[in-house]
Amino acid sequence: EAGVAQSPRYKIIEKRQSVAFWCNPISGHATLYWYQQILGQGPKLLIQFQNNGVVDDSQLPKDRFSAERLKGVDSTLKIQPAKLEDSAVYLCASMGPLNTEAFFGQGTRLTVV
């Protein structure tokens, strides 16, 4: 079974630039999460999708972050404009219909300079 795919693995941008991350979840997984993990901390939820609908985006900084999952499969997360404090690893995870075993991708390490 293929895992959760994310790209790119690494990205370096200057502050005020924009960036986009892509995630392809495990086939058949309806639930998709985007998490932000700052160095030395646990992952923190940004947004949760169920199919193509948003379940929870209460912690998403909506003035600069946006995410979509238009066809209920893969998803993109965008930051515009980026700030220095956005430097982190952005993790995508998906969970299957039995609501067990959320699997994570390798993440995208973003550095804002």
């Binding site: 959760v4 030395g40 646990g42 169920q50 379940v55 929870d56 609501n99 075993e101 994570f104 993440g107």
Partner: protein, 111 residues
């Protein structure tokens, strides 16, 4: 908001000894818990899970214990190996909601 915390931020054990990593959770309504292992530069890797209707679950070399009375979760690793060195996170979940992670415990296996 609700959060998951850990008692010990770092843990060093001798190779071959057993490791115990502890976690306190705050949401009594959480009904599903997962332990993840995260190695440097990688995403969290699922280790073992447990539902709130259980108090113990065993896997290969790992055991998770759940004490709902005191809202405490632990991960026991038997015969700890160098490859077990990583950061371990517990995460709590309510059905249909997101996973809330703690800050993590770094496990260091000494030769």
């Amino acid at each position: 908001g609700e959060s998951v915390g850990l008692h010990l931020p770092t843990l060093s054990v001798q190779e071959g000894d057993n490791s115990i990593i502890n976690c306190a959770y705050s949401n009594s309504a959480s009904d599903y818990f997962i332990w993840y292992k995260q190695e440097s530069g990688k995403g969290p890797q699922f280790i073992i899970d447990i539902r709130s209707n259980m108090d113990k679950r065993q896997g290969q070399r790992v055991t998770v214990l759940l004490n709902k009375t005191v809202k405490h979760l632990s991960l026991q690793i038997a015969a700890t190996q160098p490859g077990d060195s990583a950061v371990y996170f517990c995460a709590e979940n309510m059905y249909g909601q997101n996973f809330v992670f703690g800050p993590g415990t770094r496990l260091s296996v000494l030769p």
